[in-house]
Protein backbone atom coordinates (compact mmCIF):
# COMPACT_ATOMS: atom_id res chain seq x y z
CA UNK A 1 0.00 0.00 0.00
CA UNK A 2 2.75 2.36 1.03
CA UNK A 3 4.65 1.41 -2.07
CA UNK A 4 1.62 2.18 -4.27
CA UNK A 5 1.19 5.66 -2.63
CA UNK A 6 4.83 6.43 -3.12
CA UNK A 7 4.54 5.45 -6.78
CA UNK A 8 1.36 7.56 -7.19
CA UNK A 9 3.02 10.57 -5.54
CA UNK A 10 6.01 10.24 -7.86
CA UNK A 11 3.71 10.13 -10.91
CA UNK A 12 1.76 13.17 -9.68
CA UNK A 13 4.90 15.31 -9.30
CA UNK A 14 6.03 14.32 -12.78
CA UNK A 15 2.65 15.29 -14.28
CA UNK A 16 2.64 18.64 -12.49
CA UNK A 17 6.19 19.32 -13.65
CA UNK A 18 5.29 18.38 -17.22
CA UNK A 19 2.27 20.70 -17.14
CA UNK A 20 4.41 23.56 -15.89
CA UNK A 21 6.94 22.97 -18.64
CA UNK A 22 4.14 22.99 -21.24
CA UNK A 23 2.67 26.21 -19.82
CA UNK A 24 6.12 27.75 -19.79
CA UNK A 25 6.70 26.84 -23.42
CA UNK A 26 3.30 28.25 -24.37
CA UNK A 27 4.10 31.52 -22.58
CA UNK A 28 7.44 31.72 -24.32
CA UNK A 29 5.76 31.07 -27.67
CA UNK A 30 3.19 33.78 -26.98
CA UNK A 31 5.96 36.23 -26.11
CA UNK A 32 7.87 35.35 -29.27
CA UNK A 33 4.77 35.65 -31.47
CA UNK A 34 3.87 38.97 -29.84
CA UNK A 35 7.33 40.37 -30.45
CA UNK A 36 7.33 39.14 -34.05
CA UNK A 37 3.91 40.66 -34.71
CA UNK A 38 4.95 43.95 -33.16
CA UNK A 39 8.00 44.05 -35.40
CA UNK A 40 5.83 43.45 -38.46
CA UNK A 41 3.40 46.19 -37.46
CA UNK A 42 6.27 48.65 -36.98
CA UNK A 43 7.74 47.77 -40.36
CA UNK A 44 4.37 48.10 -42.02
CA UNK A 45 3.87 51.53 -40.51
CA UNK A 46 7.25 52.71 -41.70
CA UNK A 47 6.53 51.52 -45.18
CA UNK A 48 3.29 53.46 -45.33
CA UNK A 49 4.82 56.81 -44.47
CA UNK A 50 4.73 59.09 -47.42
CA UNK A 51 7.94 60.95 -48.12
CA UNK A 52 5.92 63.81 -49.47
CA UNK A 53 3.78 66.33 -47.70
CA UNK A 54 0.23 65.39 -47.03
CA UNK A 55 -2.97 67.34 -47.23
CA UNK A 56 -4.65 67.80 -43.91
CA UNK A 57 -8.06 68.69 -45.11
CA UNK A 58 -8.44 71.29 -42.42
CA UNK A 59 -9.69 74.66 -43.54
CA UNK A 60 -6.83 76.48 -41.93
CA UNK A 61 -4.20 74.16 -43.27
CA UNK A 62 -2.86 73.53 -46.70
CA UNK A 63 -0.13 71.52 -48.30
CA UNK A 64 2.94 73.09 -49.78
CA UNK A 65 2.81 74.04 -53.39
CA UNK A 66 3.93 71.62 -56.04
CA UNK A 67 5.06 73.90 -58.78
CA UNK A 68 5.42 72.72 -62.31
CA UNK A 69 8.29 73.66 -64.51
CA UNK A 70 6.29 75.66 -66.98
CA UNK A 71 5.73 79.31 -66.95
CA UNK A 72 2.21 80.45 -67.42
CA UNK A 73 -0.16 82.70 -68.92
CA UNK A 74 0.02 85.75 -66.69
CA UNK A 75 0.13 88.79 -68.92
CA UNK A 76 1.44 91.65 -66.79
CA UNK A 77 3.87 94.10 -68.15
CA UNK A 78 6.82 93.67 -65.88
CA UNK A 79 8.47 96.79 -64.62
CA UNK A 80 12.17 96.48 -64.57
CA UNK A 81 14.88 99.07 -64.99
CA UNK A 82 14.23 102.08 -62.90
CA UNK A 83 11.10 103.31 -64.54
CA UNK A 84 8.23 101.69 -62.78
CA UNK A 85 4.68 102.14 -63.82
CA UNK A 86 3.25 98.85 -62.64
CA UNK A 87 -0.51 99.12 -62.71
CA UNK A 88 -1.77 95.56 -62.89
CA UNK A 89 -5.18 94.78 -61.62
CA UNK A 90 -5.37 92.17 -58.90
CA UNK A 91 -5.40 88.69 -60.26
CA UNK A 92 -7.76 85.98 -61.20
CA UNK A 93 -10.28 83.91 -59.35
CA UNK A 94 -7.91 80.97 -58.93
CA UNK A 95 -6.00 82.94 -56.35
CA UNK A 96 -8.79 84.73 -54.60
CA UNK A 97 -9.48 82.33 -51.78
CA UNK A 98 -7.20 81.55 -48.86
CA UNK A 99 -4.30 79.24 -49.26
CA UNK A 100 -6.20 75.99 -49.56
CA UNK A 101 -7.45 76.67 -53.06
CA UNK A 102 -4.39 78.11 -54.66
CA UNK A 103 -3.55 76.98 -58.13
CA UNK A 104 0.14 76.22 -57.85
CA UNK A 105 0.70 75.83 -61.56
CA UNK A 106 1.45 79.35 -62.56
CA UNK A 107 4.99 80.04 -61.62
CA UNK A 108 8.25 78.48 -62.58
CA UNK A 109 10.28 77.13 -59.68
CA UNK A 110 12.98 75.97 -62.05
CA UNK A 111 13.63 79.56 -63.09
CA UNK A 112 14.76 80.43 -59.54
CA UNK A 113 16.93 77.40 -58.87
CA UNK A 114 20.15 79.42 -59.21
CA UNK A 115 18.78 82.57 -57.59
CA UNK A 116 18.64 83.96 -54.08
CA UNK A 117 15.97 86.00 -52.30
CA UNK A 118 16.83 88.21 -49.32
CA UNK A 119 14.03 89.42 -47.10
CA UNK A 120 12.15 89.49 -43.85
CA UNK A 121 9.35 87.29 -42.49
CA UNK A 122 7.34 87.87 -45.64
CA UNK A 123 10.12 86.22 -47.64
CA UNK A 124 10.26 83.25 -45.25
CA UNK A 125 6.92 82.30 -46.79
CA UNK A 126 8.72 81.56 -50.07
CA UNK A 127 10.08 78.35 -48.57
CA UNK A 128 7.62 77.78 -45.72
CA UNK A 129 4.81 77.46 -48.26
CA UNK A 130 7.12 75.31 -50.37
CA UNK A 131 7.36 77.61 -53.37
CA UNK A 132 11.17 77.71 -53.31
CA UNK A 133 13.85 75.66 -51.64
CA UNK A 134 15.14 77.08 -48.39
CA UNK A 135 18.62 77.22 -49.94
CA UNK A 136 17.40 79.91 -52.32
CA UNK A 137 16.18 82.20 -49.54
CA UNK A 138 17.92 84.20 -46.83
CA UNK A 139 15.08 85.57 -44.76
CA UNK A 140 14.28 86.12 -41.13
CA UNK A 141 11.50 87.57 -39.03
CA UNK A 142 12.18 91.22 -38.24
CA UNK A 143 15.05 91.68 -40.71
CA UNK A 144 15.47 95.21 -42.09
CA UNK A 145 18.08 96.90 -44.33
CA UNK A 146 20.21 97.77 -41.32
CA UNK A 147 20.16 94.43 -39.53
CA UNK A 148 20.61 92.54 -42.81
CA UNK A 149 24.17 93.85 -42.98
CA UNK A 150 25.30 91.80 -40.01
CA UNK A 151 22.57 89.27 -39.16
CA UNK A 152 23.75 85.68 -39.28
CA UNK A 153 21.57 82.69 -39.96
CA UNK A 154 23.18 79.31 -39.44
CA UNK A 155 26.51 81.08 -39.10
CA UNK A 156 26.26 83.02 -42.37
CA UNK A 157 25.42 86.62 -43.19
CA UNK A 158 23.41 87.09 -46.36
CA UNK A 159 26.58 88.18 -48.16
CA UNK A 160 28.27 85.05 -46.81
CA UNK A 161 25.47 82.90 -48.12
CA UNK A 162 25.60 84.68 -51.47
CA UNK A 163 29.32 84.02 -51.65
CA UNK A 164 28.67 80.36 -51.02
CA UNK A 165 25.82 80.06 -53.51
CA UNK A 166 27.12 82.37 -56.24
CA UNK A 167 23.55 82.96 -57.42
CA UNK A 168 22.70 84.13 -60.90
CA UNK A 169 20.17 86.69 -59.63
CA UNK A 170 19.72 88.21 -56.17
CA UNK A 171 16.37 89.76 -55.22
CA UNK A 172 16.21 92.01 -52.15
CA UNK A 173 12.88 92.89 -50.55
CA UNK A 174 13.58 94.69 -47.26
CA UNK A 175 12.23 97.73 -45.46
CA UNK A 176 8.79 96.86 -44.14
CA UNK A 177 10.21 96.20 -40.68
CA UNK A 178 11.93 99.57 -40.55
CA UNK A 179 8.95 101.69 -41.58
CA UNK A 180 7.85 102.27 -38.01
CA UNK A 181 11.18 103.37 -36.58
CA UNK A 182 13.78 103.94 -39.31
CA UNK A 183 14.05 106.81 -41.76
CA UNK A 184 13.39 105.78 -45.36
CA UNK A 185 16.54 107.41 -46.75
CA UNK A 186 18.59 105.81 -43.99
CA UNK A 187 17.23 102.40 -44.96
CA UNK A 188 18.08 103.09 -48.61
CA UNK A 189 21.65 103.97 -47.63
CA UNK A 190 21.89 100.69 -45.72
CA UNK A 191 20.59 98.84 -48.76
CA UNK A 192 23.33 100.42 -50.87
CA UNK A 193 25.83 99.06 -48.33
CA UNK A 194 24.21 95.66 -48.49
CA UNK A 195 24.33 95.65 -52.29
CA UNK A 196 28.01 96.57 -52.15
CA UNK A 197 28.62 93.57 -49.87
CA UNK A 198 26.73 91.33 -52.26
CA UNK A 199 28.55 92.65 -55.33
CA UNK A 200 31.85 91.92 -53.65
CA UNK A 201 30.69 88.44 -52.60
CA UNK A 202 29.41 87.47 -56.04
CA UNK A 203 30.44 89.92 -58.77
CA UNK A 204 28.59 88.09 -61.52
CA UNK A 205 25.17 88.16 -59.86
CA UNK A 206 22.49 90.48 -61.18
CA UNK A 207 20.92 92.32 -58.25
CA UNK A 208 17.26 93.36 -58.18
CA UNK A 209 15.60 95.56 -55.57
CA UNK A 210 11.95 94.71 -55.03
CA UNK A 211 9.57 97.31 -53.64
CA UNK A 212 8.05 96.54 -50.27
CA UNK A 213 4.46 95.36 -50.53
CA UNK A 214 1.32 97.33 -49.64
CA UNK A 215 -0.66 96.78 -46.44
CA UNK A 216 -4.39 96.51 -45.90
CA UNK A 217 -6.53 99.40 -44.67
CA UNK A 218 -7.13 97.52 -41.44
CA UNK A 219 -3.42 97.10 -40.86
CA UNK A 220 -2.82 100.74 -41.69
CA UNK A 221 -5.31 101.74 -39.01
CA UNK A 222 -3.05 100.12 -36.42
CA UNK A 223 -0.59 102.89 -37.19
CA UNK A 224 2.87 101.38 -37.62
CA UNK A 225 2.96 100.62 -41.33
CA UNK A 226 0.84 102.94 -43.45
CA UNK A 227 0.50 103.18 -47.22
CA UNK A 228 1.89 106.71 -47.06
CA UNK A 229 5.08 105.33 -45.54
CA UNK A 230 5.13 102.36 -47.91
CA UNK A 231 4.84 104.55 -51.01
CA UNK A 232 7.35 107.10 -49.73
CA UNK A 233 9.88 104.38 -49.03
CA UNK A 234 9.29 102.75 -52.39
CA UNK A 235 9.82 106.10 -54.12
CA UNK A 236 13.09 106.47 -52.24
CA UNK A 237 14.02 102.93 -53.29
CA UNK A 238 13.28 103.74 -56.92
CA UNK A 239 15.43 106.87 -56.78
CA UNK A 240 18.20 104.87 -55.13
CA UNK A 241 18.04 102.34 -57.93
CA UNK A 242 18.10 105.06 -60.59
CA UNK A 243 21.15 106.65 -59.01
CA UNK A 244 22.96 103.40 -58.34
CA UNK A 245 22.09 101.67 -61.60
CA UNK A 246 20.20 98.86 -59.87
CA UNK A 247 17.08 97.24 -61.24
CA UNK A 248 13.88 98.06 -59.39
CA UNK A 249 10.87 95.77 -59.43
CA UNK A 250 7.56 97.38 -58.54
CA UNK A 251 5.80 94.51 -56.81
CA UNK A 252 3.75 96.93 -54.70
CA UNK A 253 1.55 97.97 -57.62
CA UNK A 254 0.95 94.36 -58.56
CA UNK A 255 -0.43 93.48 -55.13
CA UNK A 256 -2.58 96.58 -54.65
CA UNK A 257 -6.34 96.52 -55.10
CA UNK A 258 -8.34 99.29 -56.74
CA UNK A 259 -8.21 101.31 -53.51
CA UNK A 260 -4.43 101.13 -53.31
CA UNK A 261 -4.24 98.74 -50.37
CA UNK A 262 -2.98 95.17 -50.26
CA UNK A 263 -5.59 93.12 -52.04
CA UNK A 264 -7.71 90.87 -49.85
CA UNK A 265 -6.83 88.10 -52.30
CA UNK A 266 -3.27 88.24 -51.08
CA UNK A 267 -3.47 89.46 -47.48
CA UNK A 268 -2.83 87.32 -44.42
CA UNK A 269 -5.08 88.02 -41.45
CA UNK A 270 -2.64 90.59 -40.08
CA UNK A 271 -2.94 92.69 -43.26
CA UNK A 272 0.82 92.71 -43.76
CA UNK A 273 1.97 89.19 -44.61
CA UNK A 274 1.02 87.12 -47.65
CA UNK A 275 -1.37 84.33 -48.38
CA UNK A 276 0.11 81.77 -50.72
CA UNK A 277 -1.62 83.37 -53.72
CA UNK A 278 0.57 86.43 -53.28
CA UNK A 279 3.75 84.38 -53.62
CA UNK A 280 2.57 82.85 -56.85
CA UNK A 281 1.80 86.30 -58.16
CA UNK A 282 5.12 87.63 -56.85
CA UNK A 283 7.24 84.85 -58.35
CA UNK A 284 5.44 85.04 -61.65
CA UNK A 285 5.99 88.78 -61.81
CA UNK A 286 9.60 88.71 -60.64
CA UNK A 287 10.40 86.08 -63.23
CA UNK A 288 8.98 88.27 -65.97
CA UNK A 289 11.05 91.18 -64.72
CA UNK A 290 14.21 89.11 -64.50
CA UNK A 291 13.77 87.74 -67.98
Amino acid sequence: MARTNKKANGLSVAIVALNIVIVGIIILLIVLVYMHMKEEVDNGRDGSLSPTMTESGETSTTTPAEPNTQNTSETDTPVSDSSSTGTDAPVSDTTTTPSVNVNPLNYNKEFFKDDMFIGDSISTGLYLYGFLDQDNVFAETGLNPESALTYEKDGLTCAGKAQLLQPRNIYIMLGTNGLAFLDGQYMCNKLVELIAQLETACPTAKIYVISIPPVTAVHEAEGNETMTKVLAYNNALKSMCQQGGFTYIDLCSVLQDETGYLSANYAEADGLHFLSAAYIRMLNYVEQCAQ
Binding site: I20, V21, L28, M35, R45, T61, P64, G130, E140, L275
Partner: protein, 158 residues
Protein backbone atom coordinates in the same frame (compact mmCIF):
# COMPACT_ATOMS: atom_id res chain seq x y z
CA UNK B 1 10.42 22.06 -6.80
CA UNK B 2 13.79 22.45 -8.41
CA UNK B 3 12.15 22.35 -11.84
CA UNK B 4 9.67 24.98 -10.71
CA UNK B 5 12.50 27.25 -9.58
CA UNK B 6 14.31 26.83 -12.89
CA UNK B 7 11.15 27.57 -14.85
CA UNK B 8 10.40 30.57 -12.69
CA UNK B 9 13.92 31.86 -13.17
CA UNK B 10 13.50 31.52 -16.94
CA UNK B 11 9.93 32.75 -17.31
CA UNK B 12 9.81 35.71 -14.92
CA UNK B 13 12.55 37.66 -16.75
CA UNK B 14 10.87 36.76 -20.06
CA UNK B 15 7.56 38.07 -18.76
CA UNK B 16 9.25 41.24 -17.50
CA UNK B 17 10.96 41.74 -20.85
CA UNK B 18 7.67 41.35 -22.68
CA UNK B 19 6.04 43.91 -20.39
CA UNK B 20 8.80 46.40 -20.97
CA UNK B 21 9.01 45.92 -24.74
CA UNK B 22 8.14 49.57 -25.38
CA UNK B 23 11.24 50.74 -23.50
CA UNK B 24 10.64 51.91 -19.98
CA UNK B 25 7.88 54.52 -20.38
CA UNK B 26 4.56 53.08 -21.58
CA UNK B 27 3.88 55.02 -24.78
CA UNK B 28 1.59 54.03 -27.59
CA UNK B 29 3.03 53.68 -31.06
CA UNK B 30 1.43 56.55 -33.01
CA UNK B 31 1.72 58.14 -36.42
CA UNK B 32 3.00 61.71 -35.82
CA UNK B 33 0.88 62.96 -38.71
CA UNK B 34 -2.29 61.70 -37.01
CA UNK B 35 -1.37 63.54 -33.84
CA UNK B 36 -0.61 66.81 -35.63
CA UNK B 37 -3.82 66.59 -37.66
CA UNK B 38 -5.80 65.99 -34.48
CA UNK B 39 -4.24 69.06 -32.87
CA UNK B 40 -4.83 71.46 -35.73
CA UNK B 41 -8.40 70.24 -36.02
CA UNK B 42 -8.97 71.58 -32.52
CA UNK B 43 -6.43 74.40 -32.40
CA UNK B 44 -6.16 75.77 -35.96
CA UNK B 45 -3.11 77.49 -37.33
CA UNK B 46 -3.63 80.51 -39.57
CA UNK B 47 -2.10 79.77 -42.99
CA UNK B 48 -0.97 76.49 -41.49
CA UNK B 49 0.90 74.06 -43.66
CA UNK B 50 1.70 70.48 -42.79
CA UNK B 51 4.99 68.76 -43.47
CA UNK B 52 6.70 65.51 -42.63
CA UNK B 53 10.25 64.43 -41.77
CA UNK B 54 11.45 65.08 -45.33
CA UNK B 55 11.04 68.82 -44.73
CA UNK B 56 12.31 68.98 -41.17
CA UNK B 57 14.94 71.54 -42.22
CA UNK B 58 12.37 74.29 -42.63
CA UNK B 59 11.30 73.84 -39.02
CA UNK B 60 14.65 75.48 -38.17
CA UNK B 61 15.35 73.11 -35.30
CA UNK B 62 18.61 71.50 -36.46
CA UNK B 63 17.45 68.07 -35.39
CA UNK B 64 19.72 65.30 -36.66
CA UNK B 65 17.63 63.67 -39.39
CA UNK B 66 19.43 60.35 -38.86
CA UNK B 67 17.89 60.06 -35.39
CA UNK B 68 14.33 60.58 -36.64
CA UNK B 69 12.09 57.68 -37.56
CA UNK B 70 9.16 59.83 -38.65
CA UNK B 71 7.86 63.31 -37.98
CA UNK B 72 5.04 65.69 -38.68
CA UNK B 73 4.75 69.39 -38.07
CA UNK B 74 2.50 72.25 -38.94
CA UNK B 75 3.41 75.90 -38.82
CA UNK B 76 2.19 79.29 -39.99
CA UNK B 77 3.67 79.50 -43.48
CA UNK B 78 3.07 83.21 -43.99
CA UNK B 79 5.59 84.10 -41.30
CA UNK B 80 3.04 86.28 -39.54
CA UNK B 81 2.54 84.16 -36.43
CA UNK B 82 4.75 81.89 -34.31
CA UNK B 83 2.19 79.09 -34.29
CA UNK B 84 3.70 75.65 -34.69
CA UNK B 85 3.22 72.08 -33.54
CA UNK B 86 5.64 69.20 -34.12
CA UNK B 87 5.58 65.53 -33.18
CA UNK B 88 8.90 63.83 -33.83
CA UNK B 89 9.28 60.09 -33.43
CA UNK B 90 12.94 59.36 -32.76
CA UNK B 91 14.75 56.06 -32.95
CA UNK B 92 15.55 55.97 -29.23
CA UNK B 93 14.55 57.86 -26.11
CA UNK B 94 18.09 59.29 -26.01
CA UNK B 95 17.55 60.67 -29.52
CA UNK B 96 14.26 62.14 -28.34
CA UNK B 97 16.06 63.90 -25.49
CA UNK B 98 18.49 65.45 -27.98
CA UNK B 99 15.62 66.45 -30.27
CA UNK B 100 13.95 68.10 -27.29
CA UNK B 101 17.09 70.20 -26.71
CA UNK B 102 17.03 71.28 -30.35
CA UNK B 103 13.35 72.17 -30.10
CA UNK B 104 14.03 74.14 -26.93
CA UNK B 105 16.69 76.12 -28.83
CA UNK B 106 14.15 76.76 -31.58
CA UNK B 107 11.69 78.06 -29.03
CA UNK B 108 14.27 80.42 -27.57
CA UNK B 109 15.09 81.72 -31.07
CA UNK B 110 11.40 82.30 -31.72
CA UNK B 111 11.05 84.19 -28.45
CA UNK B 112 13.94 86.46 -29.44
CA UNK B 113 12.42 87.08 -32.89
CA UNK B 114 8.85 87.73 -31.80
CA UNK B 115 9.36 89.67 -28.56
CA UNK B 116 9.59 93.02 -30.33
CA UNK B 117 8.01 91.94 -33.58
CA UNK B 118 4.54 90.94 -32.45
CA UNK B 119 4.26 91.20 -28.66
CA UNK B 120 0.59 90.24 -28.88
CA UNK B 121 1.62 86.77 -30.07
CA UNK B 122 4.08 86.15 -27.27
CA UNK B 123 1.60 84.28 -25.09
CA UNK B 124 1.83 81.37 -27.50
CA UNK B 125 5.59 81.16 -27.03
CA UNK B 126 5.61 81.91 -23.32
CA UNK B 127 3.20 79.07 -22.72
CA UNK B 128 4.86 76.75 -25.23
CA UNK B 129 5.36 73.06 -24.44
CA UNK B 130 8.54 71.25 -25.33
CA UNK B 131 8.88 67.76 -23.89
CA UNK B 132 9.53 64.10 -24.55
CA UNK B 133 7.42 61.02 -24.07
CA UNK B 134 9.17 57.73 -24.78
CA UNK B 135 10.81 58.09 -28.17
CA UNK B 136 8.73 61.14 -29.09
CA UNK B 137 9.81 64.77 -28.89
CA UNK B 138 7.02 67.31 -28.97
CA UNK B 139 6.89 71.07 -29.67
CA UNK B 140 3.71 73.06 -29.14
CA UNK B 141 3.39 76.85 -29.55
CA UNK B 142 -0.24 77.58 -30.30
CA UNK B 143 -3.17 79.66 -29.13
CA UNK B 144 -4.21 76.86 -26.76
CA UNK B 145 -1.12 74.94 -25.71
CA UNK B 146 -2.83 72.98 -22.93
CA UNK B 147 -5.49 71.69 -25.29
CA UNK B 148 -2.87 70.66 -27.84
CA UNK B 149 -0.83 68.82 -25.22
CA UNK B 150 -3.92 67.06 -23.97
CA UNK B 151 -4.64 65.80 -27.50
CA UNK B 152 -1.11 64.59 -28.14
CA UNK B 153 -0.72 62.99 -24.72
CA UNK B 154 -4.09 61.31 -25.15
CA UNK B 155 -2.78 59.62 -28.28
CA UNK B 156 0.57 58.74 -26.76
CA UNK B 157 -1.07 57.29 -23.67
CA UNK B 158 -3.04 54.93 -25.87
Amino acid sequence: MKILKILAAALIPAALLAGCASGGEQVADIDPSDAVKAVIAEVPITSGIENDESSLDIFDSHIDADTVESAAFSLCASGAYPDAVAVIKCKTSEDAAKAKEALQDRLEDQIKLFTDYTPAEMYKLEGAKVYTKGNYAIYIALSDNDKAQEIIDGKLNG
